[in-house]
């Protein structure tokens, strides 16, 4: 079972892929596979960056707890 994907693991893998491609040792099939995987990881990282670039959302813990305990009131 593989590790859950995280931003840091994705960035690490992209760097690894680029190192492999830079080495020039990868054949056509591997190159295309690596490029495809790398693009997918870059998209994931970009989405993670997007998620923390929407503007700071500040919450108070007591309000959050109250909202979780009384979801109906929170929505109202």
């Amino acid at each position: 079972m593989s590790e859950p994907r995280t931003y840091e693991s994705a960035v690490g893998r992209v760097e690894e892929i680029i190192r492999r491609l830079d080495s020039g040792d990868a054949g056509l099939r591997e190159t295309l596979d690596l490029v495809r995987e790398g693009r997918e990881l870059v998209e994931y990282c970009a989405s993670e960056l997007d998620a923390v670039s929407q503007g700071l959302e500040e919450l108070r813990l007591d309000e959050l707890v109250a909202r979780l305990e009384h979801p109906a009131e929170g929505r109202g």
């Binding site: 931003y7 870059v42 998620a51 670039s53 813990l61």
Partner: protein, 438 residues
């Protein structure tokens, strides 16, 4: 408590003093009396530290006097202090007296039950003791072993609602370009009574699934002010939380215990915010764009390169055949030339052989001819010797009948009647004359 032995004796005649009393009883009374002295704290400089198996001995001195002190060794060891001469300490305890015996000397000492380094205060001593205990229990490690997200989406913060730390944290996050979700858990951060509230806030934040890291911050203050962050229960709570805690409490000279148990300890709330989000979002975006461009380049280059290779390969067979044909022709030319060279060489070699044979044959034939000539001469001589012609030349004649058949006897001649006499120079017919009777 009275002094029955001393009080009830009559004065001795000489000098008017009570007694004489047994010295052991007096010493025991003295011990009891000294032990009645109030227990106090004393401050002074340590001198002459001596460790024995059961006790630690030293003198406590100042400019006006000194006191021998002793402490149980196990109590001393529990303090975890390294006592050295010249150290200024505060000791707590009371007077004691060892009355001695017939075989041992008596001694007075101030029995020390508490000891701390003077000047750092009770808080620091207690803090050091607790720090050692928590460290010995391995509680400084669990937080440091937790994985920390480089780009958390949700950060929890425990701090005072009106403190400067709040603004500092926001400034740190802004510097990172981070705009995720921030959950504030405001709690009093001033004194030790704040500790349970801080611990509760931490537990609640850790129980919130989306919280990936928690910052505990306050803007500094005296150690007394920061004592809330040295609370044992709070520190144990932090050590066992599932989320990493970044502490930013106090400063370097007053390191609190929460700094030791936390995953990361920062000197300011701004730094704590930056530690919570190690990634500079703007820089990360730029790096990501570069990575994407490089991936694109690699993909494009790989295809172009392979396409060129394929094109070259597709043109290759014709050139390959031509190259092989040319090579074959060349080989053929070389083969012919080699064969020619080989033939010439063979002819020359054969002619040489022939000449040698001729020379050899000539030499053999000449010799053979001479030999044969000599043989012929010899045979001619031998033959000549037997030639009938030569015999007839000497006067002999060959007798034959008319048919020419040689007749070898007189009887045959008589029978034949007609004879032919062959001489060396011709034949003469002859007839046998009738024989005259004898």
């Amino acid at each position: 408590m009275g002094h029955p032995v001393i009080a009830n004796r009559d004065p001795v005649a000489a000098g008017g003093l009570p007694g004489p009393f047994p010295v052991g009883s007096y010493a025991a009374q003295l011990k009891r009396r000294l032990q009645e002295f109030a227990r106090v704290q004393l401050e002074g400089e340590v001198w002459g530290v001596r460790l024995s198996r059961a006790r630690v001995y030293f003198e406590l001195r100042d400019a006006h006097g000194a006191l021998p002190c002793s402490m149980w060794r196990d109590e001393f060891d529990r303090l975890g202090l390294a006592l050295a001469d010249g150290m200024q300490v505060i000791v707590g305890g009371g007077c004691d007296y060892y009355p001695g015996s017939a075989a041992s000397s008596p001694s007075f000492s101030f029995a020390v039950s508490e000891l701390r380094i003077a000047g750092e205060g009770d808080l620091l001593v207690a803090l050091e003791r607790l720090r050692r205990r928590l460290g010995a229990e391995g509680l400084f490690e669990p937080q440091k072993a937790l994985p920390r997200a480089q780009l958390p989406r949700t950060i929890g913060v425990v701090t005072g609602e009106r403190g400067k730390a709040r603004d500092d944290i926001l400034a740190g996050l802004e510097r990172r370009g981070w705009g995720g979700r921030l959950i504030w858990a405001f709690a009093p951060v001033q004194d030790r009574h704040a500790a349970p509230r801080i611990a509760a806030a931490l537990r609640e934040l850790a129980a919130t699934p989306e919280v990936e890291v928690v910052i505990v911050a306050r803007g500094g203050g005296s150690l007394a002010d920061l004592y809330a962050f040295c609370d044992e229960a709070l520190c144990r709570t932090v050590a066992l939380l599932r989320v990493p805690v970044i502490s930013s409490v106090g400063h370097h000279t007053d390191r609190t215990l929460i700094d030791d148990v936390a995953a990361v300890c920062c000197s300011t709330p701004t730094h704590a915010a930056e530690a919570a989000v190690p990634v500079d979002c703007a820089a990360a975006r730029r790096a990501l764009a570069m990575s994407a461009a490089r991936l694109r380049d690699h993909g494009r280059r790989a295809i172009l390169h392979r396409a060129r290779t394929l094109a070259q390969l597709s043109r290759a067979p014709g050139r390959q055949v031509a190259r092989h044909r040319e090579r074959l022709h060349q080989l053929l030319r070389e083969l012919r030339a080699a064969a020619r060279r080989r033939g010439d060489e063979g002819t020359a070699r054969t002619a040489g052989h022939l000449r040698a044979l001729e020379r050899s044959a000539t030499r053999g034939v000449e010799a053979d001819r001479a030999r044969r000539a000599r043989e012929l001469d010899r045979l001619a001589l031998a033959l000549g010797a037997h030639d009938p012609q030569r015999t007839m030349a000497r006067g002999y004649a060959l007798v034959a009948d008319r048919a020419g058949t040689p007749l070898g006897s007189a009887a045959a001649a008589r029978a034949a009647g007609d004879l032919r006499l062959r001489f060396h120079d011709g034949e003469v017919p002859a007839t046998v004359a009738p024989e005259e009777p004898a």
